[in-house]
């Protein structure tokens, strides 16, 4: 039987729900309950998340560089105002994402190539891109495609909007205090068929794992997020509690600083980076830390969520081989100086633990790495450093390697531009990237992808560690279909026995 | 007075033995004490420090600390053995018939309540009187103990009263329920002579009016001579002698009593010596004002020393007497610049002390030394005695070996054996420590020695030894001695001249004989008449 109030214990809630600026693990998982996008990923159809369906957009039509998008009619925002093309156009507008004083400037990367967005009638908008872009509908399933009510958004400003968000989703936000709680109530004006099965949801921030666990076991909470992998079995062992782990669309990784900054950076020598990759037994580490819930991608960018791009049998060029690693180290000028690894404390589950193991394994081949666990990214990004933690998300264009391979590494990306940049894209990579972006057919795109990946691996500016996973516990009797990193608690995703 | 009827006995100790807890100086504080207190009698208990006087009193009141084992023997009061009573029983059966007052009057009153409240409490606990009745009773009591303005005193807190007033409040409190027995443990030791005299008068009045039996503990033979009917002498936990006052004082039987009585200083003014050397101290127009209080207004000024001039010659002893707070200590501290005077000139051994810079002053200090009152606190507890004596010499550049030799010499001169140098202060008795202090001062061969109440804290017998020693070394070393005391008997014996201080001024200065027989000032006369037991002149016990 469905409860009157569904209570969920989470380890944290991001401080702002501004759709793009507030995009983070702890906000993305809750967005789906009150925000909606042009298109959405249908996890019921494919749990890996490669199926994109129209959502607030009813149809897409492309004519060369111009997409005409027909919006759904009769959709209401939580404040009772109808959603129109005006709102949709504003969502993707220059003003909001790309202007010098944009509201949410991060949206610019997600709408790269958009040159004009315009409402042409009450329910239709036109999007013009710089070059032909077949991927626009898929891109609009990202946070950049969350449709915001223009008038309200302009009235509140980004910060205000982030605190009192309004969307078109099945629930509306009635209370939000970031360190404490978010209360959602079913929205009567919701248009969809996937109606809310519980009238009210409460998301409680409970930072201590023991307290979350006790809460779920005792029935105070119906669900919890954030179970350390080692504890899954324990949590599952309690009566009336079930544990689900869900692969996310993001990979934890370590970036090598390939640039001569600091000037004596030994990692500018690619052989040393190869050695570092070959020195760690990532499969074993991932097995030890996560069991079977996730895996280590042996070949960069060869990820299972990419449908046709994914080649399950591909072998790594740099497999685990300490002997080879040692030999490579011998070839370089590396003299054992400590390599500094900046790590953000507690940001990626199990990262510090894995790091401790890796430091050991590197030490065994004569590479001296010193880990520095730091409080936040400001400190992590402060030079000098030789290694740095990061995670590469893969879902911007569902089923396509665009994000991890190009969006995050291209010459305009933070990774090549910011103060804390760690690499300079090679000629080969840039050339392949251009082909990749221009490609309209799968074959062209696949070929360009392979070239680009090879160019990247030539440099090896990072080592992918594992696909990130999340573990959730539920009271028995609750049937829930996870949707990647999103916790969709409505419609076909949630039912009660 | 052996003619009391048996039923006249109020309180009777029979074979009282008080075991000491843990590792005391000895196994039993009091051993086999048998003693009776009669109605209408003042019985003084005297004896050396630590002889068990206070413990006897406390066990009578059931106030021994929890760590003590139950004393053996009996303390009989109205047919009850007090030793066998619990606190509750005692309240019920004895109530206020047994009362006690203590040595430190101010500390014996709770600072938190008005004294009126505290005295009322006794009535509240033991009687059913109404509030108004209690109040009236308390006021009457205050009047009876001769407290001025009882209404005001009633409302006052202990800190607002003088020591003598506090002691009177304590007595009033003790008298509340008309006790048959009053135990007073050194009730006047903390008070100055004039106040002491008033309290003693009060005691006598009490006995007269109520027929109270008073057990009066003291070590002052003057007090004994003044008020006691009988005297009991204790030594190391045992009662060595008991008898009528006149008998015990004038014809002591027990060896210890004899020693004690012999040591009591006499009011024996002597003439000044004539063989004095050159002037060592010339102090002129010394003044010192203390300012206390908060920043800004409300400054409280005390003119502790007011335009005083003094001279002192080698081999001479100048006594400085006066009641408590008259500025004796402040003056002596000013002279050696332990306190900086506001004005005046000081010359010691030809050196102008008043204008010396710190470094020069340190250097000049060897010319003037001081011995403090309390030998227990005057030595660094963590420094070996030998080092303490040698320290001054080392400071003034005497080589180590020479200093050690002189230390040994001084120890011997003070009647201590050479091994004393290796021990710590707490391993010595009070008298021995004072000798060490004297040795430390003398090690620098000062021209001027100041003794600030240097024997007041000591037992009379020890006191006598120390005084003798001082006279002896002065003879040999010919230093000028400024002897500060409030004990006129001691001063009369020791000094060539005596200066009387009152409220920061020297009101009279002269040879003892002249001063005592024919005081020029009214104040001096008052001071003299307040000396307890002045009428009693102990015979030489030799």
């Amino acid at each position: 039987q469905a409860p009157d109030v569904l209570k969920i214990a989470v380890d944290s809630l991001w401080q702002t729900m501004s759709p793009v600026t507030g995009f983070a693990t702890s906000s993305a998982r809750i967005y789906c309950n009150f925000y909606e996008r042009f298109t959405s990923v249908d996890y019921l159809a494919d749990p890996n998340g490669s199926v994109v369906v129209n959502h607030l957009a009813e149809s897409f039509e492309r004519n060369g560089n111009i997409w005409t998008v027909k919006m759904r009619e009769g959709v209401m925002f939580h404040n009772g105002v109808e959603m129109t093309a005006e709102d949709a156009a504003f969502t993707l507008s220059e003003e909001r994402y790309r202007a010098v004083d944009a509201y949410e400037p991060r949206g610019a990367t997600f709408t790269e190539g958009f040159v004009r967005v315009e409402a042409i009638d009450k329910y239709t908008i036109e999007i013009e891109t710089a070059s032909e872009d077949p991927h626009v509908p898929a891109k609009l399933s990202s946070v950049a495609g969350i449709i915001v009510p223009k008038a309200y958004y302009l009235e509140k400003g980004v910060d205000g909007f982030g605190q009192e968000p309004i969307g078109t989703g099945p629930y509306k936000v009635t209370t939000f205090r970031s360190g404490e709680i978010m209360v959602l109530e079913a929205f009567d004006g919701y248009w969809g068929s996937e109606t809310a099965s519980v009238p009210r949801m409460e998301w409680h921030v409970v930072p201590e794992f023991a307290a979350r666990m006790a809460g779920v076991v005792s029935g105070e909470f119906h669900m919890m997020a954030g179970i350390p992998t080692d504890q899954e079995a324990q949590v599952a062992s309690y009566d009336g509690v079930e544990v689900t782990s869900v692969p996310f669309t993001s990979y934890a990784a370590v970036a090598f600083n390939t640039l001569p900054d600091p000037v004596d950076n030994p990692l500018v020598d690619a052989r040393l980076r190869y050695a570092m990759v070959q020195a760690v037994d990532m499969d074993l580490i991932v097995q030890a830390l996560f069991g079977d819930t996730t895996f280590h991608p042996a070949v960069p960018f060869n990820f299972p969520e990419y449908g046709d791009f994914y080649e399950p049998d591909l072998k790594s060029n740099l497999p685990y081989d300490p002997e080879a690693a040692r030999a490579l180290v011998e070839q370089t000028d590396y003299n054992g100086q400590p390599l500094i690894w900046h790590i953000t404390r507690g940001f990626y589950p199990n990262y510090e633990t894995a790091a401790e193991i890796m430091v050991q394994q590197w030490a065994e081949v004569g590479i001296n790495v010193e880990m520095r666990v730091l409080d936040n990214f400001s400190m992590v990004y402060q030079r000098p450093f030789h290694l740095m933690n990061f995670a590469n998300a893969t879902a911007f264009i569902p089923g396509d390697p665009y994000q991890p391979l190009w969006l995050d590494w291209n010459p305009e990306a933070n990774r090549s531009r910011a103060d804390w940049k760690t690499w300079a894209p090679s000629e080969a990579y840039i050339a392949a990237g251009a082909r990749f972006n221009a490609a309209l057919s799968f074959e062209e795109r696949f070929a360009a992808y392979k070239e680009m990946s090879a160019a990247w691996q030539e440099v090896t500016p990072a080592l992918f560690m594992w696909r990130q996973v999340g573990s959730f516990a539920l009271r028995s009797g609750i049937n829930w279909t996870p949707a990647g990193a999103e916790m969709r608690l409505f419609g076909g995703y949630l039912s009660f026995a | 007075m052996s003619d009391h009827l048996p039923d006249d006995v109020l309180l009777s100790y029979e074979n009282l033995t008080i075991p000491l807890p843990g590792k005391g100086d000895r196994a039993r504080a009091v051993e086999g004490l048998s003693l009776q207190l009669h109605r209408n009698e003042i019985l003084c208990i005297v004896g050396e420090s630590g002889s068990g006087k206070s413990l006897t009193a406390l066990s009578t009141m059931g106030l021994l600390d929890a760590e003590f084992d139950r004393p053996q023997g009996q303390i009989m009061f109205h047919g009850n053995n007090l030793l066998e009573m619990g606190e509750r029983q005692r309240t019920q059966r004895i109530g206020g018939k047994l009362a006690m007052i203590f040595q430190e009057p101010t500390a014996s009153l709770n600072p938190f309540y008005t004294v009126g409240h505290q005295v009322s409490e006794t009535f509240k606990i033991h009687t059913d009187l109404s509030k108004a009745e209690i109040r009236q009773k308390v006021l009457d009591l205050f009047a009876e103990v001769l407290l001025p303005d009882p209404e005001r005193i009633y409302r006052s807190y202990p800190h607002q009263l003088s020591g003598g007033q506090c002691q009177r409040v304590m007595i009033a409190s003790a008298l509340a329920l008309n006790p048959e027995v009053l135990i007073a443990d050194e009730p006047t030791t903390a008070l100055d002579v004039t106040t002491q005299a008033q309290i003693l008068k009060l005691m006598l009045r009490l006995r007269e009016r109520h027929g109270t039996g008073i057990l009066f503990i003291t070590h002052d033979f003057g007090v004994v001579a003044e008020i006691a009917d009988r005297v009991a002498v204790m030594c190391r936990g045992e009662l060595v002698e008991v008898g009528p006052t006149a008998e015990v004082l004038n014809n002591p039987q027990h060896a210890y009593t004899k020693r004690l009585v012999a040591a009591v200083p006499r009011l024996e003014p002597r003439a000044a010596r004539s063989d004095l050397g050159e002037t060592v101290l010339r102090a002129q127009n010394i003044s010192k004002t203390y300012r206390t209080g908060h920043i800004g207004k409300a400054v409280h000024e005390v003119r502790a020393v007011d335009d005083v001039s003094l001279t002192l010659r080698r081999g001479e002893t100048l006594g400085l007497v006066g009641e408590s707070g008259s500025g004796k200590s402040t003056l002596s501290q000013c002279i050696i610049r332990m306190v900086d005077a506001d004005g005046g000139e000081i010359e010691i051994d030809g050196i102008r002390f008043d204008s010396l810079r710190p470094r020069a002053l340190r250097h000049a200090r060897r010319h003037a030394q001081i011995i403090f009152q309390d030998p227990y606190t005057a030595l660094d507890p963590r420094q070996k005695v030998g080092d303490a004596i040698a320290e001054g010499q080392l400071i003034h550049g005497v080589p180590m070996a020479q200093a050690a030799a002189r230390t040994a010499e001084l120890l011997e001169a003070m009647g201590l054996d050479a091994s004393a140098a290796e021990r710590f202060p707490h391993q010595f008795s009070g008298g021995q420590r004072q000798r060490i202090c004297i040795a430390r001062a003398l090690a620098l061969e000062p021209a001027l020695l100041i003794a600030d109440e240097s024997v007041s804290a000591l037992d009379v017998s020890v006191q006598a030894q120390i005084l003798e020693l001082l006279v002896d070394v002065q003879q040999r070393l010919q230093f000028g001695l400024l002897f500060v005391t409030h004990d006129l008997r001691v001063a009369s014996q020791l000094c060539d001249r005596i200066a009387v201080m009152q409220k920061g001024k020297i009101v009279e200065i002269g040879e003892p004989v002249q001063l005592f027989t024919n005081p020029a000032q009214e104040y001096t006369r008052q001071l003299l008449s307040a000396v307890p037991g002045a009428g009693w002149v102990p015979q030489s016990a030799a």
Partner: protein, 307 residues
């Protein structure tokens, strides 16, 4: 007490708060740039530039300081970087929760600690005394977060008697207040005991006994008022421990108070919030100190009549 006394007190208070303001400002502004910390790892250059512009981080340090002090004087501690809400609002929202927890814990500390200390002093050397001292030293020696977690595992997970997190009902108070209050009670019990023993050795206690004042009355009406001054001092100082304990306990039990706010603000470099909280704590501590001073006047007749 005199007017000057208060003038000096208030002057010191103002100085303290000014120095705290300045210290936090310097510590926070000179350490480094909060933009990246606030915006997360994926923030773009432009986003960072906009952020810095918005929060005046590009201005000279003196200008920032001036603005900061000027605003602080009018009670405006600025906006939280994290969620763009006024800091005062954020804090006001959470203070009741913390005050409630703090008050309950403090009450537990006093109601448990003082009587235990009294009993221990009264029956010095007895089995009870030992028991109390064992309790106090044991409870003191356990880190209170560890205690909190053990309590959750026992009372929420295993026995399922008490809720493990949140603050909505009276039941929710039990564990956090116990974890916090009892560790303070342990300290207080020790101090009460030694203050009482100290007082009990005073001559006036013996005099009271000689008067026939019964034991309980001596303890409550003679000893306790005099022991109150050191106790009140300790209780004042214990507020510092209370603050420290609150930070930890609020985290363990997901208590939505200022302690948690502080932790989140500190770890996300939310300068305005940290600054305001530090100042808030300083002000309350200084106020508490003044209250303690005031209570001396009430407790000690010697102080009262000094003016």
């Amino acid at each position: 007490m005199t007017a000057e006394f208060w003038l000096v007190k208030i002057g010191r208070m103002a100085l303290t708060i000014f120095i705290v303001l300045t210290f936090t400002f310097i510590a926070l502004r000179t350490s480094f740039d909060p933009a990246q910390a606030m915006l997360g790892p994926d923030a773009t250059q432009r986003e960072i530039a906009l952020f810095r512009d918005k929060w005046l981080l590009d201005r000279s340090i003196f200008e920032q300081y001036f603005v900061y002090i000027k605003n602080a004087l009018t009670g405006d501690f600025g906006m939280s970087f994290r969620d763009g809400r006024p800091v005062t609002e954020l804090i006001a929202e959470r203070i009741p929760k913390t005050l409630a927890l703090g008050a309950v814990s403090y009450l537990i500390a006093v109601l448990v600690g003082v009587p235990l200390g009294l009993l221990a002093a009264l029956y010095r050397g007895s089995a009870l005394d030992r028991l109390v001292m064992v309790f106090s030293v044991v409870w003191f020696a356990l880190p209170n977060f560890f205690l909190g977690i053990l309590m959750i595992l026992l009372f929420s997970l295993t026995l399922q008697w008490l809720p493990s997190s949140g603050s909505s009902t009276a039941l929710h108070f039990i564990m956090p207040a116990a974890a916090l209050g009892l560790s303070l009670a342990a300290i207080l019990a020790r101090f009460t005991r030694s203050a009482m023993l100290e007082v009990q050795s005073k001559p006036y206690m013996r005099a009271a006994q000689a008067k026939g004042v019964p034991r309980w009355r001596r303890t409550l009406f003679h000893a306790l008022p005099n022991a109150a001054i050191p106790l009140v001092t300790i209780m004042g100082l214990m507020l510092g421990n209370l603050v420290a304990g609150t930070v930890v306990v609020e985290t363990v039990f997901a208590w939505p108070g200022v302690g948690r706010l502080l932790i989140t603000a500190v770890s996300s470099k939310d300068m305005a919030v940290v600054q305001a909280l530090v100042v808030l704590v300083a002000v309350s501590m200084v106020t508490a100190n003044i209250l303690v001073d005031l209570s001396y006047g009430l407790l000690d007749p010697r102080m009262r009549s000094r003016s």
